[in-house]
Amino acid sequence: MAVKDAGRAARPGKRATDDGPPAREPDGRADSPELIQLLTPEGERVEHPDYPLEISAEEVKALYRDLVIVRRIDFEAIALQRQGELGIWASLLGQEAAQIGSGRALTPRDMAFPTYREHGVAWCRGLDPVKLLELYRGVSHGGWDPTAHNFHLYTIVIGSQTLHATGYAMGIQRDGAVGGDDGEAAIAYFGDGATSQGDVNEAFIWASVNNAPIVFFCQNNQWAISEPLERQTRTPLYQRAKGFGFPGVRVDGNDVLACLAVTRKAMQAAREGQGPTLIEAFTYRMGAHTTTDDPTRYRLSAELEAWKLKDPIERVKQYLIRTEQAEMSFFDEIEAEAAAVGSRVRVACQRMPDPEPVSMFEHVLTAETAQLAAERTGFAAYLDSFEAEEATR
């Protein structure tokens, strides 16, 4: 493991007392020695003994393309919310590398269980971003078929999906799809806030005692709406895994290469039957929690400015330029493609019709009950009565 000093005290420096507030960022410095990094914020490629990564220029450029496009989709969505086309949007700004790196580490047969912010993972799985906008526009609760892209529905209640992912992984075991070359695994996405939920801790226990093929991918973006990390934990999150009996690692969540390598290794271990891994992707929510949030009420702009220097996209660009793996025209092409994707998404959102009112009665149970049929019929007649009234005016 890359955890070089996992055994030391969890909280170096000033220890919080029971009657005083805990110190800011317990062992949470992004430059702490246990942080796995393969690409520095300056775009310099560094090696890590546990995570060798052979990656071609084309593969890095493909990751860059993903990063730029998902940021563009996010940008469009925020604008659409401001224009009243979406009810709300949960921005992934700043978390692109964590999502693209981990998302591209999955095979088509792996199953991903997202929260509601995994737009980058959705992109990697091949889900049309317009489906995400449907949810935030309020025309569906998601509504995509999870088996179409092995990407489960967005889960809004914090942490619930970690148990679903664990149960799914238990199903993989029962199907005999662990071990061998064609093993499968599940990956559960959640955030730092979710680690306080009972369900997440129960999922850790279930996964551990069953040695289930699952990776717990925690995007520690430092903030659960307004609550900073120290309201959730007094130990680095990745170290919690040890108490549950499986390995935990902390990766630079703004480093797409490190996220790719670390997730690949953990997923492969899971597929081979070595059980779960907790990955803490150390990142930062550069935007608001959602479009309804105002981060200026609870955090300093200096913190955001510091993280901007660690931008997940800029470092890849610098790396590609520095190593002369990409011409400037490449970046222009990607910008143009991202703009086209953004435009398509925007237009699709603006043209998205509201669902038929009567459709709200569909898919409650496998078969419509007599009671629901009566309610639906009554509702339809009620709606029709307005039309009849209009006609007679």
Binding site: S140, G143, W144, M170, G171, I172, A186, W206, T369
Partner: protein, 327 residues
Amino acid sequence: MTTLTLSRALNEGLRKALEANDKALIMGEDVGKLGGVFRVTDGLQKDFGEARVIDTPLAESGIIGTAIGLALRGYRPICEIQFDGFIFPAFDQIVSQLAKMRYRSRGSVALPIVVRVPFGGGIGAVEHHSESPEALFAHTPGLRVVACGDPADAYTMIQQAASSDDPVLFFEPKRRYWDKAEVDTEGGLAAALPMDKARVLADGTDVTVLCYGPMVRTCVEAAVAAAGDGRSVEVIDLRSLAPLDTETIFASVRKTGRCIVVHEAVVTGGLGAEIAAQVSQECFYSLEAPVLRVGAYTTPYPPSRLEEYYLPDLDRILDAVDRSFGY
């Protein structure tokens, strides 16, 4: 025909469900080697293995949450919540996830999960072991909620629940686990009454008594006693609490003109309240008296030395019959 206790009938039904579909699983606390605290799953782990009869960690939300994941992978989990009062740690997974996944996915995801819940009082237990939370789930769209009242229904209904593609909350009357009756374990399910239909247990002409679960036997006994007073009581075992078989209910009330709903659960906001509202609306011109409810008082479950006063019994049902005739 075989004479079985209700517990044993469930056991035989679960065995049939495991045999019928190799994706069916049993999971819960102590369901394996111990066979469950009420022995409902006795011997099943021995015969079907630890991969299909799973002793889970002690965490109810985890039981339902992982069952959802297993169902997403194609399995059909039959979960046991050890006691009614322990279902609340799983309440979020049941109400927010289990009940809503089909709707959320616009029909692309089915969650064929059974949640077995021993419920009701009368066994002298400590707190949290005697509750009747069924109305909370009947209030939740997306769930089927059923209760068995006798061994024969226990045997067939658990199999029907296991073969349903909808989530089913399956309430078992724990104080009736050791009641015995004849059960036909040879016949298939084809001839069995569907799980969502009520059953008329005793024909009557003067008053309709609606009940389910542990109150079924009590109400049948009350009907016999009332007959001695010259009153003809029609007893209906609702069996399905969501959806309600209103067709059977309304037909009976239109015939008798009187309706009493009996359950162990607190009356306030309970199934009886829902039924009273629907009967009042649909059978208004047939009613000779308001719909009456017999159930627990609006207090938390009392210490067990008081439960005989708290729970409906034969006398309280007969008292309600008398009151119904007083209008």
